[in-house]
Amino acid sequence: MSDAAAITGDAHAHGHHPDLQHHFDTLEQQHEAATLGMWLFLVTEVLFFGGLFLAYMLYRVWYHEAWVAGSKELSIALGGFNTVVLIGSSLTMAMAVRSAQTGYRRATIGWLLGTMALGLTFLIVKVFEYKDKFDHHHVPGYDFHVDAAHAGIAGPMEIFFSLYFTMTGLHALHMIIGFGLMSVITWMAYKNRFSPQWYTPVEMSGLYWHFVDIVWIFLFPLLYLVDRTQ
């Protein structure tokens, strides 16, 4: 890049891509740095959710009967529907990134809006699931009780539902943040900010969204499915 132009402060008269920041040599290098940084963030996210999954594992071994009973209170129909919706949103997100890579602005916007719609669908279904838990007094610390057959394991079941709400709640929070990211990206795409040379925000949001999808890929079988035959 041109040092002379940088020194004179004429930042963008010199001949490099407008989205190439001055501390990078090339767009490829900039893209590589962004990807690596995003993955480093995702490493911390993996361990963040990993701690909760570990807590789930330990309590599951200790209070297996409560885990079976708690799991059977959850709706496989709603959970399964949400799994399909969320994996579908991962597909639309991947297609949004691909459209950005190939420079199809309208397609990028369309796929992003589709992803947001599916994300919103997931959250709305989650609201109905949560409402069901409130109706059945399965919310820990809020007039919690279980039916007479499970009276002896009410305490451990409260732990199950604590983890259920913590894990799905944090997952939902990540989706809300992802929805916010997507709104910004869609606006940027609308403003024609991306090109096949530079679409980093779309790709990084995609990585984040796919990670959130992966968390749910584990939450669904662990919370809803594994103890059905017990």
Binding site: Y63, I87, A151, G152
Partner: protein, 129 residues
């Protein structure tokens, strides 16, 4: 600039993920004994791997990025392995013919009011019911 995968790849991966979702629900309703849990986790890990490799482009990333991807699961494995080694072995005898280790019976030593031995209390609850 970076690898552009054909659309068909994304649709194929999505299809596989859907089939595996159906498979895990199907398996959940069949009594596989101790294998219900490993099957569910195995399918989930396979699905997650597909998402990481193809949707997140890890397959087409630089070696340094791949190292970071692997690192997250490596540290996760350390966290699980070391913690579970402790908790899962607490009821084990520490020498031939000896008594259990320091944490022996930790499951039944939990607060008596509701926690432990869940199975027995459950039966009592049912009897009362």
């Amino acid at each position: 600039m970076s690898h552009i995968a054909p659309k068909s790849m994304y649709y194929t991966i999505f299809g596989i993920l859907m089939v595996m979702t159906a498979l895990t629900v199907y398996a959940a309703f069949h009594h596989l004994g101790v294998f219900n849990f490993p099957v569910a986790i195995g399918i989930a890990i396979t699905k997650a791997t597909l998402v990481v490799l193809f949707f997140m482009h890890a397959k087409y990333s630089s070696r340094l990025t791949k190292l970071f991807v692997g690192m997250s699961f490596f540290f996760l494995a350390i966290m699980f392995a070391l913690t579970l080694t402790d908790y899962m072995s607490r009821g084990l005898k520490t020498y031939p013919g000896g008594a259990g280790g320091a944490g022996y019976g930790v499951r039944s030593a939990a607060p008596a009011h509701e926690a432990a031995p869940a199975g027995e209390e459950h039966k009592e609850g049912e009897a009362a019911h």
